[in-house]
Amino acid sequence: MNIKQLSVFLENKSGRLNEILDILGKAEIRIIAATVADTSEYGILRLITSNTQAAYTLLKENHVSANLSDVIAVSCDSLAGTFAEQLKCFSQENISIEYMYCFSVKDRAFLILRTNNNEKACEIAEKYKLHSVSEEELIQL
């Protein structure tokens, strides 16, 4: 199940991340998961939010370079070895993971994945009976 992710271009400049988060905060947009990947010159901030489409429109209005893309989310028990278990089925089916980030809520772990083929990844998640998480479920957390 595809989930909308918001990616934001971030110049490496003190205060820039804050500016972006402020814009979203003032519009009552809640951040569910966030990660920053960076090079020496710029970074990409990736966000799952309570209203990603609205967040995208809002950032565009504020002249921020942003992009909407699709990721998938799966959840599992937060126990030793469960991560490996989850990811193994993707590699068995030749799906490569471009990047991922994760967070846990109490004893549940949530993995946000970007793969080279999200559609196939969803089928695999179903086939191996992984627990796919929808956007609505993430927002309810």
């Binding site: 992710q5 271009f9 710029y42 990409i44 370079s65 992009n67």
Partner: protein, 432 residues
């Protein structure tokens, strides 16, 4: 196909003989002014000093500063009674520059503009609409007189009021429009809004664009949008106005009218002529002006001669489109670079915004050039695509300017912008 066949296709030898003859006359005329009496007098130059075009090198340059210092009539070489018109620059940076014309000067100017328009196929059966500003700006009356000289039905629509421009184009059956390039695009946008299809609903076939530096990409875009051929026009108020150089239908550079101007291209730092084909500052000497002859006038515009003969068989040499102003030029590691070159490359990437900043600084005793450019909308979530974009920009810049700048993508709206004209170059070197 020629407005003045004998002049336009004259052999180079005849043309140069004509130039020498007219240069002598220009010097004699110029010597009627205290300014040239002083500058030429100091070097003992009279028309007798000129035996070949090489002797031109003896004559000192005339600059915009000289025009300002002699404001308004200090460089008028004839009886002021013979002056019938003047044009003046806006003078936003000090005294304006004033150019005076006798009836002869106005006539010759109109002939030159008519020659340009005829060259791109405008005839007395055409309807020529001039969307240039009138008044002091030479693009107004300059084209008006030229198009009338040709016999075209001339519509002095003047600048602005786009809806009215479009109404005129449709009602009068306008075939040719003179506009600045950015306004040509604007015309199309408003036509779109009004549901007017330029191909279906108008008789437009020719656009004359100039007065604003533009790239060949921009020209092609205008041609595609309006379904016309667009020709590059070059002029400057100090050389009367439009009609100095113009493209022919081969669109391969601008023929500069060498019966009316002696053309030199110099290195703005050493003031020596550059080898043929290299970019430098355009220097012009008027050959057919009574009221205000100007000798070796430094235009500040950067261009180069294009090599080879033109298939149109005109013998007047061709200039490349204007590359920018010599004031904007900077030198890094011995290479002359101007912002227009960088801009041309950056504008080809639709992933980028329009704002950029070039910085040159000293690092480890070395000049380093970096180009910051604003990203447009983020087009990808993929780092490798951003990095390959940077690599591709770098590669194309290197092809254009022959050295490798450091290219950095920056946030939209993060680069400094001043009113109207953006600051494009920051030179932070220790010893410039």
């Amino acid at each position: 196909m020629y407005f003045n066949p004998e002049i336009e296709t004259m052999s180079r030898a005849e043309l140069e003989a004509l130039q020498i003859k007219r240069l002598k006359k220009s010097i004699d005329t110029a010597l009627q002014t205290p300014f040239y009496q002083k500058t030429l007098g100091e070097k003992g130059i009279t028309s007798a000093s000129i035996n070949s075009l090489d002797d031109l090198q003896k004559i000192p340059f005339t600059t915009k500063e000289d025009l300002r210092n002699n404001y308004p009539f200090g460089l008028v070489a004839c009886d002021i009674k013979k002056v019938v018109r003047l044009h003046s620059s806006s003078g936003t940076t000090g005294n304006p520059t004033v150019i005076c014309h006798t009836q002869h000067d106005i006539d010759q100017w109109a002939n030159r503009v008519a020659r340009c328009l005829y060259m791109v196929g405008v005839r007395d059966t055409d309807v020529f609409q001039n969307s240039s500003g009138y008044g002091m700006f030479t693009g107004g009356l300059g084209f008006q007189y030229g198009a009338e000289r040709l016999g075209a039905l001339t519509v002095p629509a003047a600048a602005g009021n786009t809806l009215r421009q479009i109404k005129f184009i449709r009602d009068f059956g306008t075939t040719t429009v003179h506009a600045i390039p950015s306004y040509a695009t604007r015309l199309y946008e408003v036509m779109q809004e009004q549901g007017v299809d330029p191909r279906r609903d108008t008789k437009l076939k020719t656009l004359v664009i100039g007065a604003e530096p533009h790239t060949d990409e921009q020209r092609k875009r205008i041609e595609d949008l309006l379904g016309v051929k667009a020709y590059n026009s070059f002029g400057m108020s100090e050389m009367s106005g439009p009609g100095v150089a113009f493209e022919c239908t081969y669109q391969n550079g601008l023929h500069i009218w060498e019966d009316c101007f002696i053309v030199e291209i110099i290195n703005p730092d050493t003031l020596e002529p550059v080898p043929d084909g290299e970019i430098g500052e355009l220097v012009l000497t008027t050959l057919d002006r009574e009221a205000m002859p100007l000798l070796r006038y430094r235009s500040r515009d950067l261009t180069r001669f294009l090599p080879g003969e033109c298939p149109c068989r005109r013998t007047h040499r061709r200039l490349d489109r204007i590359k920018g102003r010599s004031d904007d030029m900077f030198i890094v590691k011995g290479v002359n670079i101007f912002p227009m070159q960088v801009e041309k490359i950056l504008m080809q990437f639709k992933e980028l915004g329009t704002n950029y900043l070039i910085t040159i600084e000293t690092k480890n005793n070395n000049d380093e050039m970096s180009v910051e450019v604003e990203l447009g909308d983020l087009f990808t979530d993929d780092f490798s695509k951003l990095q390959s974009l940077t690599r591709e920009i770098t590669r194309q810049l290197k092809d254009e300017i022959l050295l490798t700048p450091k290219v950095k993508l920056v946030d939209k709206g993060s680069l400094p912008q001043t009113e109207g004209k953006a600051v494009r170059v920051r030179d932070l070197r220790n010893n410039k």
